[in-house]
């Protein structure tokens, strides 16, 4: 007989609203306890008083390069332990699932990483691994950002170029970020989409036309909107123009780094107001996330952390996000003026939808019991995976 747990005295985020209701969990799933009450005549086994706090779906980070001193792209040899360690420590920021992200790397790295990092369910050991996010190497040289130029590639030979680097087995890949203008044969985005891989457009100089072709061929995401793409131009809005494009078959989800450093608050407000249902908060965190203030080494770079800013030592060049996802949710809430519900869904429902995960990102009956309990300031009180508490303050 499996236990029924009742979370009571709480506000539950459902259908975009906080509702005063109880949440019931059994066998790691959210259940409709009314039916059990009437049909099985079962009482709840455990009742937990949530002290009036909010229960929201657990957070999902679609773009995270590392953290707590680990960098997935630099530490390829020990990537398994790096991912495992990060997965464990992400629980304290309310993350129940994430896509370990690999920036443009040596082609030799990919087959290894794709083999080693498989999708994995979450639990006490850590947040679920929802599949890799391969950010590159098929990106625009001009918009490569911090990616290593010697590994950047084109897609002249279409799918052949893709499989040359990634191999044929894409079962461990969730997202590929690429520049749509490189897909000149118009087959790569289609190929990835048909294999269940989400294509994100980014690190690109694409015209709106190229971006729209990418969307028509199956791309469903935009990688860190405004970053690594041309500035918004009124005569050719480029990838940004996809947000309101009427040619795109459906609105694209778009990632935003809301750490208060990478994107101006005013820009966040603009991004939010265009299409709030499709905004996805990502950290794009680097290995320095979760480390103390001071000097640290990332690969061979010396980095200085001061509060939420990480810069290359001796310069003012930002070198990635060091904020946790829960911090980004709070920042986003404060900056955009959106409701607490919208802020929470931008880190849970929307990324789950972007990945096509029907059982995550919501607290509907039948969903996985992966959730966070937060106070009204969106501070994580506890994190739960499959109905089990995996972190508490």
């Amino acid at each position: 007989m499996t236990l029924i747990t009742r979370f009571t005295n709480c506000r539950v985020l459902r259908n975009g609203k906080l509702i005063r209701d109880d949440l019931y969990v059994r066998d790691g799933k959210i259940i409709d306890y009314m039916q059990i009450f009437y049909e099985e005549r079962r009482k709840c086994d455990i009742a937990l008083d949530c002290k009036g706090r909010i229960i929201a779906p657990g957070f999902i980070d679609l773009q995270i390069n590392g953290g707590f001193g680990y960098d997935f792209s630099h530490d390829c040899e020990k990537i398994e332990s790096a991912v495992r360690e990060v997965a464990q420590r992400l629980l304290s920021s309310g993350v129940i699932g994430f896509c370990p992200t690999l920036v443009t790397s040596d082609p030799a790295v990919y087959p290894e990483v794709l083999k080693k990092i498989r999708k994995e369910t979450g639990g006490k050991h850590g947040a679920a691994i929802l599949g890799l996010h391969l950010e590159g190497p098929f990106i625009a040289m001009d918009k490569r950002g911090a990616h290593n130029p010697s590994y950047v590639r084109t897609l002249e030979n279409g799918v052949c170029d893709l499989t040359d680097v990634y191999g044929n087995d894409l079962s461990s890949v969730a997202i590929v970020t690429l520049a749509p203008e490189l897909d000149i044969r118009r087959e790569v985005i289609k190929y990835l989409s048909s294999r269940g891989v989400r294509v994100a457009l980014g690190h690109s100089t694409a015209s709106l036309r190229d971006a729209e072709i990418g969307a028509s061929n199956g791309a469903s995401l935009i990688t860190h909107l405004f970053n690594a793409m041309p500035l918004f131009h009124h005569r050719d809005p480029g990838v940004v123009g996809l947000l309101t494009s009427e040619v795109s078959p459906r609105p694209l989800f778009y990632g935003i780094i809301a750490d208060g450093v990478h994107t101006h608050f005013e820009t966040l407000r603009i991004a939010h107001r265009i299409n709030p249902q499709n905004l996805v908060l990502v950290t794009d965190a680097i290995s320095a996330m979760g480390l103390e203030n001071g000097k640290h080494f990332i690969g061979d770079m010396q980095v200085v952390i001061e509060g939420k800013r990480a810069t290359i030592d001796g310069t003012s060049t930002l070198c990635g996000c060091v904020s946790s996802l829960d911090f980004c949710v709070r920042q986003f809430h404060a900056a955009s003026g959106c409701s607490i519900e919208e802020a929470l869904e931008a880190a849970s429902l929307h990324p789950a939808q972007a990945l096509g995960l029907a059982n995550k990102g919501s607290l509907d009956v039948g969903s996985d019991a992966d959730f966070v309990i937060v106070n009204d300031d969106i501070q994580i009180q506890s994190t739960w995976i499959a109905g089990e508490m995996v972190y508490s303050l």
């Binding site: 109880d22 409709d32 009314m34 039916q35 009450f37 009437y38 099985e40 005549r41 079962r42 009482k43």
Partner: protein, 267 residues
């Protein structure tokens, strides 16, 4: 028959809740000696349930040893449908209190043998020694539970085909789509309620005024099934001012005079 006239629906419901609390607490139910309570659904009793939940939360009332029997349920409506009476009871009372799911009885409109379901329901009430207190509302045509005009005053729990008035009135709960309204229901009979030791009928709103007049001033008549309670040794109508609009001045004055006494019955 007693008739209590209070100011508004809230007062009606709070008074009813107080009386329910009093009856349960003075009975001091135990596992071997549970209190058997008959319950209604509908608009009027909602505030009564709210009040009962408050009493529970304040520690003044427990449903641990209370056995409930609801009045009715639609046939063929899944229990998780928001308009099912299972849903109503869950949302308004059961999920908030300490009632044992084993002690909850609501007619199963999806039972394979509906007649058997009704017979068992009736038998179960009797096995438990009958219902101590049955609470009901009344419809604008004076119906109690789904005992619409013309129902036998000697009826017991049974399958009832709903008349067009009821179906039309209920369409508002089913997206104004008359084809979605269930056409049959299971309901306790008039005699089932009459068999209870005490009956409490809640009436509120001007649209119930004709029904209240039929029930208390006219003769006993199956065209207003609530009039049957004139023959009940222990029936109380609790109504608000608005619902007395069609009563004679004399009737209202008579019962208002008695409020000095009646107001204390729930204390």
């Amino acid at each position: 028959m007693r008739l209590l006239i209070l100011d508004d629906e809230k007062d009606v419901c709070h008074f009813a809740a107080k009386l329910v609390k009093k009856r349960i607490n003075e009975y001091a139910p135990t596992e071997d000696r549970p209190f058997v309570l008959g319950l209604p659904t509908g608009g009027t009793p909602k505030k009564m349930y709210d009040r009962l939940v408050e009493f529970y939360q304040e520690g003044q009332l427990s449903f641990k040893h209370v056995i409930t029997f609801n009045m009715d349920e639609y046939v063929g409506l899944p229990i998780e449908h928001p308009e099912s009476y299972h849903s109503y009871m869950w949302q308004n009372l059961f999920k908030h209190v300490d009632i044992d799911p084993e002690n909850v009885n609501i007619l199963d409109g999806n039972a394979p043998d509906l007649q058997l379901e009704c017979a068992n329901y009736e038998a179960k009430m009797q096995q438990l020694g009958g219902v101590k207190l049955y609470i009901g509302g009344i419809g604008p045509d004076g119906h109690v539970a789904f005992n619409e005009p013309g129902s036998s005053l000697a009826s017991l729990t049974r399958v009832k085909t709903l008349n067009m008035d009821t179906i039309r009135a209920n369409a508002r709960f089913f997206g104004d789509d008359i084809s979605k309204v269930p056409t049959q229901a299971l309901t306790v009979g008039v005699r089932t309620v009459m068999n209870a030791e005490e009956v409490l009928i809640l009436v509120s709103g001007a649209h119930k005024a004709m029904a209240l007049r039929m029930a208390v001033e006219e003769g006993i008549n199956h065209m207003c099934t609530a009039s049957a309670f004139q023959m009940h040794p222990n029936a109380i109508f609790i109504c608000d001012d608005d619902s007395t609009l069609e009563l004679r001045v004399k009737t209202v004055k008579y019962f208002k005079d008695l409020m000095k006494v009646h107001a204390k019955i729930a204390d």
